[in-house]
Amino acid sequence: MKTLIPIIFFLLTAVSVYPQDSLLTEANQQYTDGKYEQAIDLYQRILKGNMESAEVYYNLGNAFYKTGKFTSAIISYERARLLAPNDDDIQFNLEIANQHVVDAIKPLPKLFFIRWWQSLTNKFPADGWAKISVVSFILALILAGFFFFSASSGLKRTSFWAGILILSVAVFSYNFAARQEKRMTEHRFAIITQPSVTVKSSPSEGGTNLFLIHEGLKVEILENLGTWNNIRLADGNQGWLPDSSMEKI
């Protein structure tokens, strides 16, 4: 039992080295030299090679920002934030890039415990929570072992309560991991890419014009109907937009 834990840790932290690493160093060098266009090209090549990391998206966003493509920068930062929801730098730069967005949207206020719950969920990405849930599950099993087979009644009691606690940690972190995974795979958010679009009341060009939004705004996709999406703004307004006017995060 005791030899198993290091093995699991080893398996969890094991990562392989890819040839894209040299590309990454080159891209960072181009950025440092101020050749942002070349840096963008290299970062995009890394991402095309089916590889990703929050840092690559972040650096790509920076390169976009430096060339004045704020909307592309926002998309990259948002993607980076999906992979690393608790990164301070990403948050900071995203806020700066969002200052170039025309629309000022007042988000709906949320209840404090929902805010806490969301910020707790965002403490780690999906895999972070997954690792926590595996480790805590194993720990809970060990404590269960102590509870069942210990002769001492004190040890039994301690291991029982600790086991319950750790088990609930495992269950919650599993839940968080599932939420984060859903966020990453469902692509429920999108950024408007057209300079200005009119949101329609129904999924057709003939729908009533509801309101006008501009490039760089983040919207939530509620449902799809063909090429049309029912979107919701942070202030709660809803409407329909075609696929072509936005890019999913």
Binding site: M1, L4, I8, L11, L12, V15, Y18, Q20, D21, L24, N28, Y31, I46, L47, N50, M51, E52, S53, E55, V56, Y58, N59, N62, A63, Y65, K66, D89, F92, N93, I96, A97, A126, D127, W129, A130, K131, V134, F137, I138, L141, A144, G145, F148, F149, A177, A178, Q180, E181, M184, T185
Partner: protein, 607 residues
């Protein structure tokens, strides 16, 4: 102010003054005449001369001349006397035929030297039909209307707005000249009610012209006109596209003779009356092109400009003001140039620049110097640098931007006298960090790992394998452990159950030794019986047993205190008797009885 005193003395007598240094000999005549018209050709010399050699005048008829006039003037200004002499020779000529004729220079002898005059060009145009007869009939016809303005045709009197350029860049200067053309036959007495065009879309600057309008002769469309310049304005277009300049309107007064044959007296006195004629120029348009994409450091300057920038000192003390002067010299829209941006070090207290202009507005345009003075105060000692200032100006003649930049200036600031700094009262004043700019944070450079897209650990088979595997291992271990535990438990039970039997057997062995009177063996076997019994009964290995542990465990297992005391005293007696049999407290028979009784009690009380 210089006080001027002017005394002019006109003397008809020739005055000879030595020291008339500059001899000028000028030939003058109208530049345009019509064929058959009489005109004056005059030669003016500012010294007395002789032996005037006329040029070839075969193209003209000399009707009269030369008639000579002399004039002299003496000026005394602040005690300085200057004298001017003037000798004129005047000829009256008549042009024979149309064409442009050049009159070669004439020469004259003055003071023993021969002086040459300038050359003249005279244009002779077709003779104008004398309009006297027809105009007089018109006059009579229109008399009843009370106004004569209708008689004056557009050919005889008009205003034109002339531009030196019709296609310019935005900001490039255009000279607009408003001229009045008057036929020599129209007698103009004055102007009134001048309505200037608004010059919308332009920034304007008037050019000073003499208050008195000088009429010169000019040919326009083959006719001779008296042309006067009414207004000269510099225009700087401020917008692109076709800009229309509104018409210029002026009302002229014309004196006309009225011929009425009603009364006798009217014929005696020439009757003149003044009529006003309102004339309007045609609107003109200017095509304004936009400037090409401007480089950095363009502050609106269009023209030919040069730029310099310099601080007044490079070494200073803190809290002492330094001025940084930028001057722009040249021609163009100098007045419209904005203050160039200077990036002073953030620690400097910099003030808005002061502007100073020194412009000349002449017929050729605006030129001069514009100066910006930036005042700054270094608040802290140290070495600072003022980065180069770039200044770009658009040169319309080349169609390109000229970019100039100043060198970088290093300023050394020494620590100044703090006692002069009255504004800071506390020596430990704190300052907020100045936020100079806002930018995104830098890229992440440290080593980080790339991973496959969509290869999440969560939900992967590996993830579930670990979870289920660990659960399986747990169950396996649990089952094995439980089984082993049960086996152990059985063994223990057997040993506990047997403990009494074994102990009694040992005690019996002890009684056997007692009968044989082997005291030492007797005590030893009693002790062995007890230790063995407790070891089996309390699940403690014999090696770990001692008196304290045994009594502690017995208390825990619910044995009464006096039974334990009995047990301890029994152990004491046995151990004592083993090493000193003679000193033993009681007989082995008594001890044996005690031991058996204690064994029974223990068996009953150990739970």
């Amino acid at each position: 102010m210089i006080k001027k005193l002017l005394i002019a003395v006109l003397l008809m007598a020739p005055v000879f003054f030595a020291g008339a240094d500059n001899v000028r000999f000028i030939m003058s005549a109208p530049n345009v005449v019509s064929a058959g018209e009489q005109f004056r050709l005059s030669f003016t010399l500012n010294e007395s001369g002789s032996d005037l050699q006329l040029p070839d005048l075969s193209n003209f008829e000399v009707l009269m001349g030369p008639s000579t006039t002399q004039s002299s003037s003496i000026q005394i200004i602040n005690g300085k006397t200057t004298q001017e002499l003037s000798f004129s020779y005047i000829f009256i000529l008549r042009a024979k035929e149309e064409g442009t004729f050049t009159i070669q220079p004439a020469s004259v002898k003055a003071g023993g030297k021969v002086y040459q005059s300038n050359e003249l060009k005279i244009q002779v145009v077709k003779g104008q039909v004398p309009q006297q007869g027809s105009s007089s009939t018109q006059q009579q016809q229109s008399e009843s209307q009370g106004s004569l303005s209708s008689e004056i045709t557009k050919d005889e009197l008009f205003v034109r707005t002339e531009l030196d350029k019709h296609s310019v860049y935005k900001g490039e200067q255009v000279i607009a000249t408003v001229k009045i053309y008057v036929s020599p036959t129209v007698p103009i007495t004055g102007f009134e009610d001048v309505k200037l065009p608004s010059f919308e879309g332009f920034w304007t600057q008037d050019i000073e012209i003499p208050g008195q309008i000088n009429f010169t002769r000019e040919v326009h469309d083959g006719k001779i006109y008296q042309v006067g310049t009414l207004k000269k304005t510099l225009l700087f277009p401020q917008q692109t596209g076709k800009i229309r300049i509104d018409p210029f309107e002026i009302t002229t007064t014309i004196r006309q003779q009225i011929k009425r044959q009603r009364s006798f007296f009217d014929d005696f006195f020439d009757n003149y009356r003044t009529v006003s004629a309102r004339i309007t120029s045609d609107p003109v348009t200017v095509t304004v092109r936009d400037l090409p994409a401007a480089p950095g450091g363009f502050y609106g300057g269009v023209g030919n400009m040069s730029f310099s920038a310099k601080p007044d000192k490079l070494e200073t003390r803190s809290n002492e003001a330094v001025s940084f002067r930028i001057s722009i010299t040249g021609s163009g829209n100098l007045r419209l140039i904005e203050a160039p941006k200077v990036d002073f070090p953030a620690d400097f207290e910099a003030y808005d620049p002061k502007e100073a202009d020194n412009f000349n507005v002449t017929a050729s345009g605006m030129s001069g110097t514009k100066t910006f003075e930036y005042l700054f105060i270094p608040r802290y000692a140290g070495d600072f640098s003022i980065p180069p200032v770039t200044f770009a100006s658009f040169n319309p003649s080349t169609g390109q931007y000229a970019v100039q930049s100043s060198p970088e200036y290093k300023i050394h600031v020494e620590k100044g006298d703090d006692s002069q700094n009255t504004t800071v009262t506390s020596a430990y004043s704190k300052e907020d960090v100045k936020y100079i700019g806002k930018d995104i944070r830098y890229i992440k450079q440290n080593e980080y790992k790339l991973r496959n897209k969509a290869a999440l650990f969560f939900g992967s088979s590996f993830y579930w394998m670990i979870n289920l595997g660990s659960l399986f291992i747990f169950l396996l271990v649990a089952v094995i452990y439980r089984k082993k535990l049960r086996e152990n438990a059985n063994l223990q039970l057997v040993r506990t159950k047997k403990a009494n039997k074994v102990a009694r057997k040992r005690l019996r062995e002890a009684s056997h030794f007692m009968k044989q009177n082997k005291a030492e063996e007797f005590y030893e076997s009693v002790l062995r019986a007890y230790w063995g019994y407790l070891s089996d009964k309390l699940n403690i290995p014999v090696a770990d047993l001692n008196r304290e542990k045994a009594s502690d465990t017995l208390i825990k297992r619910g044995v009464e205190q006096d039974v334990i005391a009995d047990f301890v005293s029994l152990l004491d007696t046995c151990e004592f008797a083993r090493y000193a049999p003679s000193a033993a407290g009681g007989t082995p028979v008594e001890l044996y009885g005690k031991a058996v009784a204690l064994m029974g009690k223990l068996e009953k009380q150990i739970r």
